[in-house]
Symmetry: C2
Subunit: 329 residues, 2 copies
């Protein structure tokens, strides 16, 4: 089957190409009836407009940049997946996507920026604000700007509640870098949920794993050396959970028999590594990517900035179990 063009659609729907174009782009000047008919034909034939032709006709090419991550905050797998999803949505809408630096915001031809993992305190954030270009932030919630973030509170609440339900009371929280809102929210929620259960959060049980495997491994090891008493570890990221798992394993402890561990992110794992299936808070990755792209398109059409909070939910797997010997508070 040779390439399907807008002319084919026009012919099938009995209208002109101009009308098809307008229907497709939601422009005014098309009656609801014909729009529906056109759209039906489009989906029946499986027509998808050629991004090149579209761009060409629209005028100068518009590219949307996605920044690199800061190393520490979020890791490889997460980023790559996100990139892919955003690309999918944006290219579908006729934009080009490039990986850029925040300073490229000003570059001609760059219509906007999607910035995952940028801290509000980050100088790069200032850079973005200084320019006129629209941008959408992933993973932080700068008021007055456009962002998409997951429901950290609810996610962590579910994880801690799950652990409490299994009888754990001495629960370590492995927190990430304290610079970001994300880590902060997860930490706060941990503290709140503990308090709600009448367990005054013990500062000793809050460890900083810097959002990395190694950081969490070291923190955990130090805690074990100090004979810290605990039966569960709630981590602010999967990455850190893997570090914790390794430290526990090296100490001869069994997960989940001796210690329960929870993560946060639900990263798709590389098949080549076998890990204990992790009980973790799932982030709707596809939705995040899709939403970020959608918000960008919205912004480009002149919409007002807004934030979107996406749901999270706990996925119970093999790294958590009932506490071994019930403890008295």
């Amino acid at each position: 089957m040779s390439k399907l063009t807008i002319h084919d659609i026009a012919k099938h729907a009995g209208v002109s190409t101009g009308t098809v174009s307008r229907a497709l782009n939601g422009r005014f000047g098309v009656s609801a009836a014909t729009r529906d008919r056109v759209l039906r034909v489009v989906s029946e034939l499986g027509y998808v407009p050629d991004p090149d032709a579209r761009q060409l006709a629209k005028g100068s090419r518009t590219v949307i940049g996605i920044t690199r991550f800061s190393e520490t905050s979020l890791r490889n797998a997460y980023y790559t997946l996100l990139l892919d999803l955003i690309q999918e949505a944006l290219v579908g809408a006729g934009y080009a996507v490039r990986i850029l630096d925040t300073k490229d915001v000003a570059r001609p031809g760059v219509a906007g920026m999607i910035v995952p993992g940028v801290y509000l305190a980050d100088p790069r954030f200032e850079e973005l604000r200084a320019h006129q270009r629209p941008f959408v932030v992933i993973g932080e919630m700068p008021s007055e700007y456009t962002w998409v973030e997951v429901d950290n509170r609810n996610g962590m609440r579910q994880a801690i509640t799950h652990l409490l339900g299994l009888g754990h009371t001495r629960i370590i929280h492995m927190t990430g870098s304290p610079i970001g809102q994300t880590a902060q929210l997860r930490l706060e929620t941990y503290q709140n949920v503990m308090r709600d259960a009448n367990l005054e959060p013990n500062p000793e049980l809050i460890l900083d794993g810097r959002f990395t495997q190694l950081g969490a491994y070291r923190a955990m090891q130090r805690a074990l050396d100090q004979k810290l008493e605990f039966s569960a570890v709630a981590c602010a990221s999967d990455e850190m959970a893997f570090g914790v798992l390794a430290a526990l394993e090296d100490a001869g402890l069994n997960v989940p028999k001796d210690i329960s561990v929870t993560g946060f992110d639900d990263l798709p794992l590389d098949d080549t590594i076998e890990h204990l299936p992790l009980t973790t808070v799932h982030q709707p990755m596809r939705l995040i990517g899709h939403t970020a792209a959608q918000l960008m398109l919205e912004l480009l059409e002149g919409a007002a900035p807004r934030g979107v909070l996406l749901p999270t939910n706990l996925v119970t797997r093999a790294s958590t179990a009932a506490v071994r010997q019930p403890q008295t508070v």
Copy 2:
């Protein structure tokens, strides 16, 4: 300045647009004299052809896929940088770049694949071979196919020679996953250079860090626990070197006073983390990206597969120093 088009070039050079196009694309039917004149005007005015228009005129859109990494082999920063560079070159040549999975090779519209960090033993490699589409491999050297890789031998040789020159004789080699050629070559070279210096390589001094910070940290820690005697660590990646640095620091050892450490890759570091400046083997990242793109374009034009080996060189920084108390073999 409004957009520069092929017409502007044509006018300035006193030729037709067709001629400009032919000159630009190296097609036959244009004399050397006019080609040079056109090219000169092009670079003078800084004209760059519109990829969209080019694609549109050329026919159906062609996209070139880049696969995701397998987690373990090469890390985030490396990958992202590479992605950026390849994108730059390929988009400039009028192609679209998408992040895809190896199984998408067969997808219509995908002209080729660039696959960084795929092992030869990987089933994904078979997948690539099974289809007709051209692909170029980064970081492995599959004979009969097209690849770009850095000179692992020379790089590791320089690193070890540097350490030997500083008086070190008990040098640990922190190797990566043994599945890949890369780790294998670096390991072999370490052994060879040691032998050349009349130091029979000691198997005890070969540690597996699995190409990750955590892996290297654990391996190093174990070695320290066993009171292994050594004065330097030559790592097969920067990532692992950071793990080693952390382990040494935790053990109260000073780098480079007590122990010298070398890396491999010369990853651009995230500014937010302060690390000891690492003596490491530099990989010409820009060149790698550029070469991969170039090879792909070549392949698309029907050229025969070939491999390109890129140079490496040692960058001496603060993590290496003369051995403390000279040792006798």
